[in-house]
Symmetry: C2
Subunit: 248 residues, 2 copies
Amino acid sequence: MPKLGSCNVFLRATFGIDPGAEIGRQLGELATQVQVMRGQEVQTDPADTTLVFLASGATKLGAQASRERHQIVAFHFGGDIFTVPAVSMHRYMLIGLCESTLTTFPARQFYDRAASNPWIMRALLERSQTALFRCRDKAVNLGQKSAGERVAGFLLAMWERLDASEGPSPMIDLPMSRGDIGESLGLKIETVSRQFTKLREAGIIDTHGRSGVSLLDLPRLAEQAGYYDRNTVPPRPEWVERKPELVP
Amino acid sequence: MPKLGSCNVFLRATFGIDPGAEIGRQLGELATQVQVMRGQEVQTDPADTTLVFLASGATKLGAQASRERHQIVAFHFGGDIFTVPAVSMHRYMLIGLCESTLTTFPARQFYDRAASNPWIMRALLERSQTALFRCRDKAVNLGQKSAGERVAGFLLAMWERLDASEGPSPMIDLPMSRGDIGESLGLKIETVSRQFTKLREAGIIDTHGRSGVSLLDLPRLAEQAGYYDRNTVPPRPEWVERKPELVP
DNA sequence: CGCAGATTTGATCGTCCTCAATTTATGTGG
DNA sequence: CCACATAAATTGAGGACGATCAAATCTGCG
């Protein structure tokens, strides 16, 4: 196994480029292989955006709002590609949820070298937009939803992103603590716990130890999450006027 | 003035390409010129992401969490480039805050045609990341900050993005209503109003009519927003272990 | 088996929401 | 130019949800 194994996997799987190719070599030069354990921070450049490929494991990207307040902005799992912003309004930290292997690149230099390759740029753009759309959904949840809706929505999101056991009541293994969940949802740990209890008492989920969650009733869980039924037409608020005018 | 004037301005100003060039012509074919008045919705494709260039005016991008709950995810001003996502978890709507002129493109097709041009792809990627970083900051605010901090932070953000009169106490002209501000900050209109009153009584701001705001004391406003002083080193929470291990 | 940390549960408090009533701003017609 | 109409913004009182503080219980691991 070559020493930049993880990077090569990344380049091949994500962009379909041969690591032996010139562009692969050039990008590989920028790579830093990092391994972190649970709770450890991945060092990123405070002055520039860092591009990260998470080969295996799971991480959380958190921001410090002030000394005692932290917001988890995103969770990442094996295969994810994302960026850690430079310090600006808030300070961001990338921290392992479990033992994780990742490859980091200085974003600016990576883009400079990859610019000539349409495939890579296209892939990066789409990934960036995925992250943006997910973040916007998070903003909607944080701004408009109750504690119960947020927790139910969180479980559904994890069910979609984590490997769940098959069957009518799939089981997932949460790699993050209740505290992490709270910091992600803008809730305190006690509130998260109480919502878990409510869902358990309602027969919608069951918990096994600290990390195991059985989703006993997915339809009802989705209902608790407060989303529209995606099969119904989303109603349009009456206060929006509908007269788009195409300029001749 | 050619009929795609706004589009040409967009292509030249943003990507530095000559609209007469082949690529300019190809992209111009995809453009739709739209003009909206205050409160009108810009029609976007529910099935695909729409790329939007806002030539002049101001808009809000809102999401419906449910019939009675809306979250404004971003405000845009003249010169901004952004995307309106297809319907997924939530339904997004782009609405004019005042009379606005904009050019829309089907994102997928635009990317297909622009892929061969590294400059354009690079510019799109950077804009997308800017939007992502701004959205993450919004998530931090929504998840962790009090009503007072959110309103103060909002005023600072608008001061940076809008044209403010010069001088020690700059004045800005908000194009959005108190209701819009509330929907953006995850607060009710009454709460926003009360926070404005508090800031006014503290001598930090002054209001003129519905839209005028004088920022009388920027340092104290920043203090109210609850950000770190950017000149101090952001403290590191003690629960984060710092032993990143570089793989040999 | 025992320990440390994570989670759950309980009681109380504070912030923001809700509902309702005024007051103020804007723009339209006299 | 002013009076009026309408919508927006402000103010007030009361209530609900989630935070806070405190204690008990459970989990996973040595």
